[in-house]
Subunit: 335 residues, 2 copies
């Protein structure tokens, strides 16, 4: 049941990042055009960033060439944006963004409805509509970048909680008395399986290696002077012959598997999609998770789900932001 | 947006328990009548239980006096029932129930659509429509009985996952290397904060009390010969002067608070509703959780939610089962 006829209608999607603003014009089938990128200039403050968003919308409308078939603007943003368009926080890389009212200026200047979602939440919607979750009604995205974010699609619609804060799945504790997290808890999965967590634990595991275990992995991390990144350490894991690298990998994956097990038991989604830079090593990660996750959830749930890599890549944010407009208009429940 | 006009239409709600079947006839506003209870006779097997359900539907239709304004039958059941009405398992107290096809016979014998949900899932819907979650779009119920079950209402609708398995929130591990759980994991919150978990941990904590700590709580649990129940141990907690009882309470609540924190970060619901027998001691439980839960979730989420006691009591199952028919008909997304 559609809210109204949406054939040949278009949505503007905006992806707000700390460095760049990206925008597209997209129809409901996911055909998009006019990809535009401008610097966010976040250091100039929240009011300036809002003005940049309005400039980008203006540019996109101009490229599109008409306004009467554009139904709204969807915005993906780090942190939390409330239903009414007030930024509630959680986007520390954009000073002064908290407290900004985002929707009213869009409505006033362009007469367009605006909606917003957390960047990982809209990326989850993009995967559900156009990527690894196509045709899936119940899906969870874990985006493993610098931190770990979560996005939830339930009953075919994005789920963001009343104030846009749902999906903080990086802050599932998996280790009592574990590493201190930015959220104040200890042992959150983000401290292990995010890109930065992977680097941190590479040092910890390498330093614990005994004198008989001074492997190439240990040498790379502790003594080589080379930059240690999730990518660099996972090259040793993928190589498959370094026992400390493999122990390290099991250690990280056991903790990620615990968090995924909790997610499976809670949401029983048809699919878990894993995204972010660390999925460069998707083969070894998915193989190990397929062995470990069943230890941490009900068998009946495990048999009816799968874990796959994300497909939308860097475009997930802007595609999902545009898709959010159609999702909200097509929903029948208050969201 | 309603699927069709539902004024003065009725749903039959069935609550399947190991001992009794309960049924009502309810309208969409929650007015109900004809409460009927018959023995499940679960020991006679799944086919017999199905026949008992059909007998109960027949009796309710007969009491209602007409069939043309009855739109369907909602069934709340322990365990998991798939979208198509196949029992997938998880109801060990009803032998032979797994594999039963529940919907087809209802359709064939009465020409009525049937839907089903896990008993805690439908109880969550009852609380959202008629109880502690009235007017709330995003709500999570934790039912703390013999075990701990979860039920989720998202975007105003029940969320059960594609195969009816969502909401297994009792199996969130909160203690690495903790007590072994029926699910195969260790340290699930169910092993601490369910009724049976509370009893088990009362023995453990009492046995750890030193010679200077032989308090009335310790005496009751270890030496009195009186039955030890969640109710009996919580009388010592509520009394407020027994240091071992208070330490025991903090120990249980810290583990429950961890699980609730994960639920809050994941769902960011407007409200968490706690039900089940242990909520007899709701005052001391809610007070302690209000102090402990903020240690385990984002402040911005905590500020926008609350934790309250369930209101629907023993009727939650049968009310929620009936409400499920209206919820499914009024949903616009495939569920």
């Amino acid at each position: 049941v559609k809210g109204f006829d949406m054939d040949n209608r278009y949505a503007i999607g905006i992806d707000l990042g700390g460095t760049n603003l990206k925008g597209i014009v997209m129809d409901e089938q996911g055909q998009w055009d006019h990809l535009t990128r401008i610097p966010t200039e976040a250091h100039l403050g929240g009011a300036h960033v809002l003005e940049r968003i309005l400039e980008l919308i203006e540019a996109l409308l101009s490229k599109h060439g008409r306004r009467d078939d554009v139904v709204g603007v969807g915005i993906g943003s780090p942190g939390f944006i409330d239903r009414d368009g007030t930024v509630l926080g959680g986007a520390e890389n954009i000073p002064g963004w908290k407290g900004t009212q985002v929707f009213a200026p869009v409505q006033q200047r362009f007469g367009l409805k605006a909606v917003a979602g957390n960047d990982v939440t809209v990326a989850a919607l993009a995967e559900a509509r156009f990527g690894a979750g196509r045709g899936i009604n119940n899906m969870v995205l874990l985006a493993m970048g610098t931190g770990i974010g979560g996005g939830i699609v339930s009953n075919g619609h994005v789920y963001m909680g009343t104030h846009g804060m749902a999906g903080e799945l990086g802050h599932i504790p998996v280790q009592r008395d574990g590493l201190l997290c930015t959220c104040g808890q200890r042992g959150c999965v983000e401290q292990y399986a995010s890109g930065s967590g992977m680097v941190k634990n590479a040092y910890i595991i390498a330093a614990q290696a005994g004198p008989q275990e001074q492997t190439p992995f240990v040498n790379h991390v502790l003594y080589s002077g080379e930059p240690v990144t999730a990518k660099s350490v996972y090259e040793f894991v993928e190589n498959g012959s370094d026992p400390v690298a493999l122990r390290y990998h099991e250690y990280i994956m056991e903790r990620l598997a615990r968090a995924i097990g909790i997610v499976l038991n809670a949401f029983a989604p048809d699919r878990v999609v894993l995204g972010g830079g660390v999925m460069r090593s998707e083969k070894v990660i998915l193989q190990t998770l397929a062995r470990q996750v069943p230890n941490h959830c009900w068998a009946a749930i495990w048999e009816r789900t799968d874990i796959v890599a994300a497909q939308c890549g860097q475009d997930a944010g802007v595609l999902g932001a545009a898709a959010l407009i159609f999702d909200k208009f097509n929903a029948c429940a208050p969201q």
